[in-house]
Symmetry: C2
Subunit: 732 residues, 2 copies
């Protein structure tokens, strides 16, 4: 089995708070319907070893523990306070906690930012007190916290056991659902749970760092409605995923879901497709469906990774081998091509009618001999072409289905699988149709740390997550940080001038910026008058030219009639200029027209779009897609957080559905992918070097079999210079 | 709750075989590892009431029942024989069964067509005997049969109970998996199971008709690797789905899965996308994942249908309301817009902070009062805008999570939900995170016939299937059979001439066929010489024209340089003709060139493709998609079996992802959908009327805001006149 990859240095301040030496329960109660009762029960029943300080001015004792009239009256030094009282009381209590030296407070109450402006004001008041008194805040509007290895069970869940799955969930019901699934599963246990609620202080990034550092956690599992600081989260995720798996379910895949989320936690959902791409870029295992969260978390926690995506299937039923093959292919996994020597070894032990082509179908060979399945798994696990092994079918149920006398052999098979799991680094994933009734052989496998699934679909999701994680780790180790690009003073000057004039870069300036950093942009000239255009015509000669109006006042040049294509010779150019001037004057009589940009028409090729936005949650993000219907109708685009690695750029090109077109269709040659990757990387480096660049849009870029041409370039300039400075600091 | 819709007249000959008065078990055995032992145990333990005749020449008794040395020696009149002996013995035994008056035989042995040509020969030999002696064959290579309401349990499964789910599965493991899931579920029972195996005689269509007629079956559930006669299956499915739901999981969604299936049952998989479209057209509920089969079958069996796709969500947790919203939207369902009076009634019973916009989030209102959830369900169920009700969250677990004292109120809530289910036709679907541990309130709901799910995703699949089925039934009732189209003798003559000359229709003939049946095809002329072209030029005048070579020897006109576009005036036409003649002579010096087809260039518009193939499994199928990348790269096409209804044609246009383009993008007007629908219907009727038409390809058709123009038409002629005649008979 795969160990986790290393340790993060301890840097999170949350360890003291989440594994506290003492806890104050503010609003502790003897009323069983109150959270202040539940929390006390949870601490007492689980045997919390630190000091418990119930705070309740109306009680001497709560559940047999001496109570205190106020936080100030507490004699000891609790590190954590659980505040169970209503929202209005919170700011004062937080201040009191701070004065008493309490490091962190969990705020259960709702009625803060998620309910509107009054609540938001209360939340700001609470945060002001917290900052003034040095108290870190979990919540508000949180379902609470547990840390089972330290017996801190403030939710008083009685169906959870200590284990290695850490959970951060913006839904309390989701935690309960996972806890009940785990109880039913029988093997999954939990380390720490936190509900981040409104994240008014501590956010997903902080909690994730804590789980990354926590030695009891082998897999971090997150239900996210919205990130507070997405860029920071990605940074932490990159660190943590290098050590251990991080599983994220992100809600808001649809507009309907985003609306529901915003009324739940006030979360700003952002683009779902972008979020998923950026999380994957940081090595996160994104799950699409809520019922895959626990299976994938369990599988990644136990097995950590596979070397790659080549799966060997051992099956005792042709139909389920077929289903497995469909699901594996749909998930982007491969049926490993078994070597001839592997196939010979399989033929040596199986009936002649067995299929030794992957998926291996034993075709009855194991009916009286189920341990032979373990032998088959051993054989394929030794094949260099195999990255993981997937057992599909009846194992565990042979003694039920065929004859009770097979129990002994079935248990021997289970032992052999356990031995194999210990001796190989290749993950073994087991689907058995007998999983729902948990027969002894499956219980043995599960207890020994081999996940056993009740559905082929769930098993394949786990295999896919293992393969993706293995490939991520391998490329991440090889990854070379692209060297930073030095901004050139004259180009920084372009931005300053534009900022001073309250405009964006003119297209010829944008082209200059790109060209001077090595991007292929066809030559252009700007003619400001008829005579200048005459000179330009002479310079270009007889090649077909494009002409575009240059004006800070005209954003949509085509709509304004400001673009003419395929012009040959001076006469055509002068006529085009006159037409453009006429159209633009009708379009906007006040527009100041600088002149006409003239540039050669590009050769035919494949049109792609490269864009950059500064996302309010994730910061600078690069977008890539094919032009036309692919972006506009099909939203077939890939996103990556800037800066990109070379692998990131290459993976964008592979991700889009339209990649077939880049590979060449209808006899067209493949486009120059390396040049395209260089382009994406250079754009990423330019964005890093010029914080004044707010947005960029190269639409289209025409890619050829050799190289590419940027045909249109638009650069939006950051107007808020304050923001520019802040950004500079935050990336420094 | 919804009753099933009616009864099919009894027509299937399988009732005698699947509910037989007596059974011969050929190869009955006292050896517990043999199928001939298992079958005997199954019949005896389940208390089969008919006569059992074990056949075994070496035993006097099998499991206490008198055994007979041969089929011939049996004294009674069994209707069914279970043949457990090896493949080689089967043909002789089938003949013996026939002579003894046995109506049906189940052949368990493998080693027939699925293993290659020797096996195929044996299968033919067996079928010859079966036909000669009037024995119907189940299998070979089948996992067997049960009919639990008649206590015929030939698989000796001891974990299945009688119920209303009928199963036909080409995978024995899949049946076992469903049986174990049902055992774990606790409520699902089964009526009849059959493994069709190689379908050498009885096929999926026959079994489905039987389940349709079987009064113990409320839902037919099929695992299919391949249909033998897909067209027949669709016909039966249309009959059965009008009465009761039919759930199909079709394997082979990928090439990998198709390969695996073909080595399993020798099935010819066919196009997965086409199969799914055609099944849906016939009202079948297609499930994509194997772990959705049982949940969807249970839900459809219990609830039958929803009036439409508008779902009201009642939730006690914002996070899960968000997940539900995402999944509903992804599944094409709608969050019902609750009426103002409904919202007021909800506000009257819920806390002020509750959200009464769908998804309804009770926000703590039910923490001490779980039966209020039932009240909310009643309120939304009475809203005319609501077609089905989805309860999401903790119901069933309030007494566990909050206080044991809530048990009474929770049980009252369950009773109220049961009452509501009885009084409303709107389906109630319940997801509870407590489902895995089956608390009393959920057990009560489940026992009363309300399905309770452990996953939001599965619940939504059920809601989607209910909504799709309701919409199918509604449109199916409204549906008017398109009147048949009478073939015109002169057009039939075109086919006869082409068949006689061993060629396909010339394009002008294809255009004539379409035009004379009312399809809009721009006028064309065929010029066979320079002077003819002069006359044609005069006729058209100054409009831009297209010219295409007419030759039976040149299939790919563009590749041969046989197409010229945008020609204006006689000079241009004559030059184009000369160029085309030159190019075509180089391309194929032996090509016989009839002349040049000249036609006006079409106005700009949206390019679509209409195609017809005669599929080997499903017969004539119409395909529709947008031109260019949509068909070629994205395979974004819709298929329907011919003949189409008007609804079928309209639904094709709605199905494709590119439908946004038809609705008008970038300021373009929407295309004339009614004209497009008329075109699809007319093509369907032409294909029905001319069985000599083998394939048709209208590529492209250019659709405008008003009408369309068929720009290129290709009609492939059926060469095998024998086949044409056969087809004529089969549709007669």
């Amino acid at each position: 089995m795969n160990p986790i990859e290393g340790h993060l240095p301890i840097r999170s301040p949350l360890h003291d708070i989440l594994a506290p030496a003492g806890i104050a329960v503010i609003g502790a109660s003897n009323d069983p319907t109150k959270r202040g009762y539940k929390a006390m029960v949870g601490l007492i029943k689980d045997g919390y070893r630190g000091d418990i300080f119930p705070v309740n001015p109306k009680a001497d004792m709560v559940l047999g523990v001496k109570a205190w009239p106020s936080v100030t009256a507490i004699p000891g030094n609790p590190e954590l306070a659980l505040i169970c009282t209503p929202a209005a009381s919170v700011p004062g209590l937080v201040a009191e906690c701070g004065r008493r030296g309490i490091k962190g407070a969990i705020i259960l109450a709702s009625g803060f930012a998620e309910v509107g402006s009054d609540g938001a004001a209360l939340e700001r008041e609470m945060m002001a007190k917290a900052e003034a008194h040095g108290v870190r805040i979990i919540g508000p509007n949180t379902s609470g916290v547990f840390n089972l290895h330290h017996r801190v069970n403030l939710l008083a869940l009685d169906n959870v056991k200590p284990g290695d799955v850490g959970i951060i969930s913006q839904s309390g019901n989701m935690l309960l659902a996972l806890a009940l699934e785990a109880q039913h599963n029988g093997q999954v246990g939990f380390s720490t749970y936190v509900g981040p609620g409104n994240q008014s202080d501590i956010g997903f990034d902080d909690y994730l760092r804590y789980l990354g550092e926590d030695e009891n956690t082998r897999v971090a599992t997150l239900y996210v409605e919205g990130f507070r600081d997405g860029r920071k989260f990605l940074e932490v995720a990159r660190d943590v995923t290098a050590m251990k798996p991080v599983v994220v379910y992100k809600s808001g895949s649809t507009e309907e879901g985003q609306k529901a989320a915003s009324s739940h936690t006030g979360a700003l959902a952002g683009s779902y497709a972008m979020t998923v791409d950026l999380l994957r870029q940081a090595g996160v295992s994104v799950v699409q469906y809520s019922d895959e969260i626990l299976p994938v978390a369990e599988g990644l926690g136990l097995l950590q990774k596979a070397r790659g995506k080549r799966v060997a299937v051992i099956s005792d039923g042709g139909g389920q081998a077929t289903i497995a093959s469909d699901r594996l292919a749909e998930a982007g996994l491969e049926l490993a091509a078994l070597s001839e020597s592997t196939r010979q070894r399989l033929r040596d032990v199986l009936f002649p009618q067995a299929s030794t082509v992957n998926p291996v179908d034993v075709a009855g060979s194991t009916d009286a001999n189920p341990s032979l399945l373990a032998t088959c798994m051993e054989i394929v696990a030794e094949d260099d072409n195999v990255d993981s092994v997937f057992l599909v079918g009846m194992f565990g149920g042979y003694s039920i289905r065929f004859a009770e006398s097979l129990m002994g052999d079935e248990m021997r098979g289970a032992e052999a699988m356990v031995d194999l799991a210990r001796s190989t680094t290749k993950p073994l994933v087991i689907y058995s149709l007998y999983t729902p009734i948990k027969p002894p052989a499956l219980r043995r496998l599960h207890e020994a740390g081999l996940p056993v699934y009740a559905s082929i679909e769930q098993s394949v999701r786990v295999l896919a997550a293992l393969g993706e994680r293995g490939q991520y780790l391998a490329q991440n180790q090889r990854q070379v940080r692209e060297t930073a690009l030095a901004p050139k003073p004259e180009l920084s000057g372009l931005f300053q001038r534009a900022q001073a004039e309250g405009r964006d870069l003119f297209e010829h300036e944008a082209r200059q910026l790109l060209r001077e950093h090595g991007i292929d942009v066809p030559m252009e000239r700007v003619a400001r008058s008829e005579p200048e255009l005459e000179a330009v015509a002479g310079e270009f000669g007889d090649v077909p030219l494009a002409m575009k109006v240059v004006s800070k006042d005209i954003l949509h040049k085509s709509d304004a009639g400001g673009v003419k294509l395929g012009l040959v010779g001076e006469q055509a150019l002068q006529r085009a200029r006159a037409d453009i001037l006429d159209s633009c004057r009708i379009y906007d009589p006040d527009a100041v027209i600088e002149g006409m940009l003239v540039t050669p028409m590009a050769r035919k090729g494949v049109e792609v779009i490269v864009g950059v936005v500064r996302d309010p949650i994730f910061g600078p993000v690069l977008m890539f897609g094919l032009g036309g219907v692919f972006v506009e109708i099909l939203e077939d685009v890939a996103f990556r957080s800037i800066p990109l690695s070379r692998h990131d750029a290459a993976s964008m090109v592979e991700q889009i559905k339209a990649k077939k077109i880049l590979a060449g269709v209808r006899g067209e040659p493949a486009v120059d992918k390396e040049a395209l990757i260089d382009l994406l990387l250079t754009v990423s480096r330019i964005v890093e070097a010029y914080p004044q660049l707010s947005e960029l849009d190269l639409n289209p870029v025409i890619v050829h079999a050799d190289g590419y041409a940027v045909v249109d370039a638009r650069v939006i300039v950051e107007r808020d210079t304050q923001h520019t400075l802040q950004y500079k600091e935050s990336v420094a």
